[in-house]
Symmetry: C2
Subunit: 355 residues, 2 copies
């Protein structure tokens, strides 16, 4: 047991020897190809099972001469939504890993405030010669159209970040949005007494595109209602991105009395944090928001934001490419649904949170 020597690697060559055939025949069985008699096939399969043969993935990767082209279709990173940069980080990590396998990956970006940019790049993808596309959907109808076109052209699709009704061929990798809202509700319940005032805040330009925010809100209210603690829950929209406009709206809203908990439904919680940081005269509510962005962490460390709920966007992007690799190269099945962990970040554990 201590001396490791007798157990050399059991490979395709050994199988061939045991079965009295050539390695080519073994290869045919392993890859489910034809040109092997049933008797020989069965004998080889038995040996594979008996010796628990595991193919050497490194050798396979070396040998295989791939010519796969993947596309990635995600929103452009902007100042207000550094979120997508994180996603891109993970994707680029995946791209690097796939390169030695001869897999080319191209990233296409679209403006999440301008549907025409989405249509434009999606057509580029359709006319490029791709085998699969990773999609982070925002515009529901247009994405469904695009996916339908993809399927016509035998282009595999996989969603990340948020799921939409139209089924992709390979599934969805991302958070369960309803649970994400429920978790926010759960945290809220620890912060305040029955009867507390709670404000749900949607902050974003073009809010009509962000249908998935409703799912979060649904989970949030669902959780709080079932507690039956007579909370006074309000919802407000602030359809702006820049601080000055948000500030104006918040000032107006806070005139009528500050809530005890403020739940910002997306990653724009930093501008709300900035508001309370710059207005110490206003009683700060507990502040819950989303995503591990630098600006958000900044107000976390200042003690203005209390909880950040995070979903590892980088891991989503990385995993999506990883699944494509496994689907094409290792012939594994699609994912259907791979839920991301939902992480809680506070001022005391943010420094160890990793991509």
């Amino acid at each position: 047991m201590v001396d490791g020597k007798e157990k050399k690697n059991f490979g395709i060559k050994d199988i061939a020897r045991l079965a009295n055939v050539s390695i080519a025949t073994v290869d045919r069985v392993l890859n489910n190809r034809k040109d092997v008699s049933d008797a020989t096939r069965q004998k080889i399969k038995d040996i594979i099972k008996e010796y628990n043969y595991q193919p050497n993935l490194y050798a396979r990767s070396l040998s295989v001469k791939n010519n796969l082209n993947f596309a990635v279709l995600i929103p452009k990173t902007s100042l207000e939504t550094g979120y997508w940069q994180l996603c891109l980080d993970g994707i680029e990590k995946g791209i690097k890993e796939l390169e030695p396998f001869g897999i080319q990956t191209t990233v296409f970006l679209y403006d999440q405030e301008d549907v025409r940019t989405f249509v434009k790049v999606s057509e580029q993808i359709l006319h490029g010669n791709f085998n699969a596309v990773v999609i982070a959907p925002i515009f529901i109808k247009e994405t469904e159209d695009f996916v339908r076109q993809c399927h016509k052209r035998k282009l595999q699709t996989i969603y990340i970040n948020s799921d939409i009704p139209s089924k992709s061929t390979l599934g969805y990798i991302g958070p369960d949005l309803n649970s994400t809202g429920r978790l926010a509700g759960n945290l809220t319940s620890y912060l305040v007494n029955p009867g507390a005032k709670i404000l749900i805040l949607n902050v974003a330009k073009g809010l009509e595109n962000y249908k998935y925010l409703d799912t979060k809100i649904e989970g949030y209210k669902e959780y709080l209602h079932h507690l039956d603690r007579q909370f006074e829950i309000d919802i407000a929209d602030i359809p702006y991105n820049v601080y000055e406009e948000v500030e104006r709206e918040l000032l107006r809203k806070m005139k009528t009395g500050s809530p005890d908990v403020l739940f910002v439904t997306n990653s724009r919680v930093s501008v709300v944090g900035q508001f309370f940081y710059e207005h110490p005269e206003i009683t700060k509510p507990y502040l819950i928001g989303f995503d591990f962005l630098e600006a958000n962490v900044n107000y976390l460390t200042k003690g203005v934001v209390d909880f950040l709920i995070c979903q590892r966007p980088d891991k989503q992007g990385y995993l999506a490419l990883n699944y494509l690799y496994r689907f094409f190269l290792l012939k594994e099945d699609g994912v259907n649904f791979k839920p991301m962990p939902i992480d809680i970040i506070t001022i005391e554990n943010y420094m160890f949170y990793e991509n």
Copy 2:
């Protein structure tokens, strides 16, 4: 950009062609071996830099004929400490990945309540022919002795799970224990009002061995004291493992009034959870504990345990083997300190938490 074709893999052969030498010479430069003139070496280095050559790790892994033996030295899994099973899971995943490289890994288990078992297996490791050992230390003095012996015999060492004063050669992979305690304090601060009664509870047989619990307690008290909210903080030891004994002690302690928050300093929080679950007549405090064990999650779902603080023990084990691989095969540096993320698990996100 869309057509991926011209960019074939740039390899050692291409470097050789460009430098008018054979691939063997390039190999010598890449592996810092001798038998190359300074002029040739420099020319090759320039080309490598100019074309940003990246070695194909899959090819290297295939080619290299390793004969490395790793040892893993961790506590045995018992009914009370399923924690170590998680750690072992990650280690076994790592072992599987290392096998195709010709790396043999042997796991040695010791009884964390019996120092003699530690000494016994550690001697086995010293006499076996190993190149490196992953250590999850419990007994501080004995571990230090062992590490000293290892260094004498050129045996690389790496700690996981908890750090101890004696320096290992390759570093430590695990949580920052003080921060772990601070995080528990942070959560506590959201749960109660100033002046609340807080009880810190150490539950384990042979508590004298668990010096690292003190570090957690230190962080916990440190955080709460700096808030200056006049909390009434008590510490109690329950040096037992089985439920009946813990129950007896807890009944005695609760007679004098139940605390508002109960902080269990290790993974034995499930027995405390069981206590309050079976004694509904006693007012349940908020309950904070450690580790994603089935028993703990069970009382989390029942609403008895409020927060579990987790540190991904499986990832520690996996990473340790991964670092050894990189140290020996890829000649990368040691880690020194790789902090694990500290995760907060509640009833609303436990179902997505993954190993």
